[in-house]
Amino acid sequence: MANLTLVQAINLALIQEMERDDRVIILGEDVGPNGGVFRVTEGLHKRFGDKRVVDSPLAESGIIGTSIGLAMGGLRPIPEIQFEGFLGPAYDQICTHAARMRTRTRGGLTVPMTLRVPVGGGIHAPELHSDSPEAIYSHNPGLKVVMPSSPYDAKGLLISAIRDPDPVIFFEPKRIYRAFREEVPEDEYTVPIGKARVVREGSEVTMISWGASVIHCMNAIEASGRDIELIDLRTINPLDYETVMTSVCKTGRAIIVHEAPLTCGIGAELSARIMESCFLQLEAPVQRVAGFDVIMPYYKLELDYLPDTERIGKAINEIVAY
C-alpha cells in the first residue's frame, strides 16, 4: 500500500500496464520528457523510451486517428488529449471511426484504445480548460466513458480500460488530481467498467454523482446530518442502472449531481430511468444539481457555476421536505 494522489495512482497504473504488455504505448502532446502538462506521464519517457512514450505533433484529430490505426494494427494505444476543451477536433475520429469500427465491420476490426482526458472545472484554468463533456460521448453508441473520483478507483479503472477490447474515454477530474491522498495497493488490481460504487449507505435519499463532485456530495451529506446513500457511478457508459435503481427504490428519493450543464446531461437520462423503474416508490420528484445551461464561465465565476456543498445542501432540504 502507498498513500497516493490521483495523479500518482494513474501514473502507477500506466507503468504497471506498460511493463505487463509491450503493446501498450502512450502518445500525445507533451507526454514525453515533459511528463504531460499535469505530469501524469512523469518519468515514463525515461523509463520506457521514445518508442513507447511518443510526443506527437500538435493535432488532436491526428492523435486519435493514428491511435485508431495503431489499435487496428494490434497495439494498445493510450492517447492523451491535453484538456477536454480540445476534444473538439478529435470528435470526428472518436465518434465517426473509433466508436463505429467494430460494428461496421461486424467485429472484423476493433479499436482497443484508452483515451485519457483531464476534465472539469475548479482549478482556475484558462478558457476551454474546465468543461464536462461526458454526456456527449455517452450519447454516442460504441464508446465506454469512465470517470473516477478517487485514487484507488483511478488505478483500477484505468487498468480495466487499457485491457478493454473497445475504445474507452478515461476522464480524469483535474480538480482532484492532487486534492487528497488515499491508500492504493501497489500490486495490480482492476475496478470493473460498468459498476457503480456505493460510497456510503443510507435510507432517506439516494445521491448519485461522479468525478470531482462526489467529494462535494460527501461534504454536503455530512453537513446535513441526514441518512443519505451516496453512489459514485465511476462509469458513465455503460451505466450501472441496477445499483442506482436498487437504491432509489429503497429510499424513494433521488438527487443527481453533476458539473455538466443541466439540459440533456446524464442527470436527465438517469431521472428518466428512475421514473421508469421506481415510479411508485418515489416520494418526491427527482432532483438535479448541475451546471447551468451556460458556457462554462471564466474562473472568476467558475465556483458560482459548479455545484457546491451549499447547493447540494439545498437540494437535500428540498427533497426531504417535499
Binding site: 493535432a59 491526428g62 486517428g65 493514428t66 490505426g69 494505444p77 470526428d92 467494430r102 472484423g108 421508469e276
Partner: protein, 372 residues
Amino acid sequence: MPVSKVYETSIDRLSILEPDGTFDESLGKGVIPDGDAVKLYEHIMLCRKFDEIAFKLQRSGRMGTYPENRGQEATSLGAAYALESKDWLVTCYRENAGLFWRGLPMEKILLHWMGDERGNQIDSELRVTPLAIPIGTQMLHAVGLAWAYKYQDSSSVSCTFFGDGATSEGDFHEAMNFAANLDIPTLFFCQNNGWAISVPTSIQCSADVLAQRAVAYGMKTIQVDGNDIFAVVKAVRDAAAYMRETSKPAFIEATTYRLGDHTTADDARRYRDAEEVEEWQGRDPVIRLRKYLEQRDLWNQSKQDEMEARAEKTVAEVVKNAEGIEPPVTEDMFDSMYASIPENLKTQRRTLRTSSLGQDPSQLPVRDTART
C-alpha cells in the same frame, strides 16, 4: 548576401504508356511481365463489368447509391499489384480494382452498397480496411497501421487512397505531418480526378500541382499519369522500396478521371463539359493497355470476346451470391457494438419486440404493480 535562396525544388511526372499505345522501353522494360499485363487487363475489364452491373442494380432498385469506378481503375490496381500482400490498403470508396486484386470477394462491395455491414466484414489477413465514407479521415488510420507494424519490427507499409478534394481536409494534413515527422512508412496515393463531386481541383488547391503539398511536409513525391498502369506500378514500387529502406512516407499524385458520375445520385453533366469527358475517354486506361497487348501479340478480338463472356458470368455469380445471402436479423445491430454486450443493451435487444421502451417490462416495478 542579404537575400539568398533557402529552398528550391522540382517535381517529376512519370508516364510510360501513352494513350496512343506508345511505350517508353527505357522506363517501362520489366515493369510488368507480359503474363501479368494480360491478367491486369482482364482484371480491369472484369471491374468494368462489375461497375456496369452494379450501376444497373442501383437503377433497377436492387441496390442503393453506388459510386462508379470507371476510368480510374489503373490507379488502385497498379498500387495493389506493386505492393506486397503484407502491406495495408486503406481505401476511400473508388478502389474496387485494387481491392479485388488483393482478394476482397466482389460480393463484399455489393453487400456494402446494399446496406449490409457484412460487406465490411473482411478477413483481417487481407489487410484492407473497409470503404471510408467521410473524406480524408482514413489517412490517419493508414499512418497508425504502418506505425503499429513498424513498432512490431515488420517491414509492412500502408498505402492510403484519396482524391483531390480530400487534400483540403484537416486530417489529410495531420496525417501527412504525423507520417513525415514520426518517420512512418505510409504511401499517400492521391487520385486526382479533377473533380470533388462538382467542385474542380482549382478550388481545392491553388498550387500548380497537388504533389507540391508533399514538398511542404518534406516528403518524397512524384506525379504520374494515373491512367498508365505501367507508370503507376513503377512509381508505387519505387516508393515502397524507398519506404521499406528509410521508414519514411512518400506521396504519389496520379492524374486520372472518373468517366462516370460521382455516384448514382449525381449527374455530372450539370458541371462537366461533354468535350472534357470525351477527351478523357480517349485517355482511358484500358484502351492503351489493350493497344499495348495487341502490339505484342498478347491479345486479340477472340480473346476479348471470350474474356467478356467470362466476366459476365463471374459478375452474374457475384450478384447471385450477394442477393442470395440471408437478410440480416434485427438483433445483429446490437451484437457487434462491443466485445461483450452491456446489460442495458442486452435488455433492449431482448425486448425490442415486446416493449415500446426496449426495456424488459418485468423489470419495471410500475408495470408489475399495474398488472397486480
